[in-house]
């Protein structure tokens, strides 16, 4: 399997505090990789570093063989920020047609993505009148529009009802099968269970990495929640 993302000794400082402290990690192509950790653990910072919008203080991030943020990667990496980065004062269609023209994709592609994220009924609606979940799906559609080889999604299913959440995870699985690498941060444990691999972050360090089943087996726990608690307390023991 091809290595899509290679992170070596990545360190990031923001406003005097260290957010990531020397992270090493590799992501293979065509996988759904979940990023798990409490808020403030450095998930968003790590995703931003992969997209190449994060100023880093040490280390290297390579995506598809190029340094993260390289101009040639701008068509291959789709990024969905945690807060929906969309234009509130125009319609769903206006947002996506603008994105399509920036990415050089046609209207047919817009139609199919709109269907995939289940916004067909809201196309003419102003984004500001949408619910939080619908807004974030406009943002998700923007990220997927260019058929990126790497999709970096920061909590893409927050605020969605369970049915829609399951539908989106099915979509992510389809994309992965077609060869897309998905890097997804989440708080929800049953979502984490649907990932091929997980990276557990705590205070800017990776405390565990591997397939969900393996993490459960290794800690002798029944659920990921317990596995995470186990690993976190073991980590604190080491730190103390």
């Amino acid at each position: 399997m091809e290595q899509t993302i290679v992170i070596a000794d990545l360190a990031v400082k923001r406003g005097g505090t260290t957010v990531l402290r020397g992270l090493d990690w590799t992501v293979n192509s065509g996988q759904i990789v979940g990023l798990l950790g409490p808020s403030g653990s450095g998930k968003t910072t790590l995703l931003r570093a992969v997209v190449g919008v994060q100023r880093i203080s040490r280390g290297e991030v390579t995506v598809l063989g190029l340094p993260a943020g390289h101009p040639l990667l701008r068509r291959s990496v789709g990024y969905m920020t945690q807060a929906a980065a969309v234009y509130d004062d125009v319609s769903v269609d206006d947002n996506l047609h603008y994105a399509a023209r920036l990415l050089g994709v046609g209207r047919r592609r817009v139609n199919s993505v709109v269907e995939q994220v289940d916004l067909s009924g809201q196309r003419q609606q102003l984004v500001r009148t949408l619910s939080g979940g619908q807004r974030s799906r406009v943002s998700l559609a923007f990220a997927l529009l260019g058929e990126p080889r790497v999709a970096v999604l920061d909590e893409p299913t927050v605020g969605l009802d369970p049915v829609l959440r399951a539908a989106l995870w099915d979509l992510f699985r389809v994309l992965a099968r077609e060869g897309t690498t998905l890097l997804i941060s989440t708080h929800v444990m049953d979502e984490a269970d649907r990932c091929d691999r997980l990276l557990l972050l705590r205070e800017g360090r990776a405390i565990a990495e591997g397939p969900p089943q393996q993490l459960r087996d290794r800690t002798g726990t029944a659920t990921l929640e317990q596995a995470f608690l186990h690993l976190a307390s073991a980590d604190s023991g080491v730190a103390a």
Partner: protein, 245 residues
């Protein structure tokens, strides 16, 4: 530079404005209303109306576009859309030119309303071609827009962005020859006045209003304004950072 991506940006900005009809109406109507107010105030002194009415063509587009652009771009910076745009193939130059084209279109509409009202309804006289006055007005709008974009980099809230108006624009009004001829200013302030772009815009509209033919001095004023727009847009490009902390 991709024309498609540039024009897509222009279209998007105009669509955003179109969904805010109140702002558009204020942009189009307020300059003409101000001119009308001056007409009433100076009804007994038409020569004074002529003297204070003409500068409106330089001041109004500049000030209004400064405000609108600084707030629009600040929103783009704060909402995360700018960061996202910079992860797409869109280049900074395409974004900046796209913005300038959008506000240029609005400026043309604004100036058309203003010149229409000034010449048809209020009887403001221009010795020179009115199209030259309109050109100065549009360039002035672009200048205000470029400065607004640049200023937005130094504001973290819309309150701050609006405060740049008295800080950056009012001194240009005071020193630009509007209140007293620049030749009468103390020497040090003359240099400052010479360095401020609005001085040239005010000089240019005044020149067109009193002289019937365009001369080298007028072209010089226009060249300074265009040069400043290019320089400020370039400075604005530096403030659009792909990588942030």
């Amino acid at each position: 530079m991709s024309p498609a991506r540039t024009l897509a940006t222009t279209g998007r900005v105009l669509r955003q404005l179109a969904h805010d009809p109140r702002t558009v109406a204020l942009m189009l109507v307020v300059p003409a209303l101000l001119l009308w107010l001056l007409d009433i105030v100076y009804r007994q002194r038409p020569e004074t109306f002529q003297a204070v009415g003409v500068p409106i063509f330089a001041i109004a587009p500049f000030t209004i576009m400064f405000l609108v652009t600084s707030v629009t771009v600040l929103r783009e910076r704060r909402s995360g859309t700018l960061e996202r745009l910079l992860t797409t193939p869109l280049r900074k130059g395409e974004l900046l030119v796209g913005y300038q084209l959008a506000f240029g279109v609005v400026a043309v509409a604004q100036i058309m309303v203003l010149t229409g009202v000034a010449t048809r309804l209020l009887g403001l006289d221009f010795a020179g071609p009115i199209v030259m006055v309109a050109a100065v007005g549009v360039l002035d709008a672009l200048l205000g827009s470029a400065l607004g974009l640049f200023a937005s980099a130094f504001a973290t809230s819309e309150f701050q962005a609006v405060q740049f108006l008295p800080a950056l624009v009012f001194p240009q009004l005071i020193l630009g020859g509007l209140l007293a001829p620049t030749a009468e200013l103390p020497r040090g302030l003359q240099f400052v006045s010479d360095a401020l772009p609005l001085t040239y815009a005010l000089q240019a509209v005044r020149a067109v209003s009193v002289q019937s033919r365009t001369d080298a001095a007028l072209w010089n004023d226009l060249a300074v304004i265009v040069g400043t727009i290019v320089a400020v847009v370039a400075a604005g490009a530096v403030t659009l950072r792909r990588r942030t902390g």
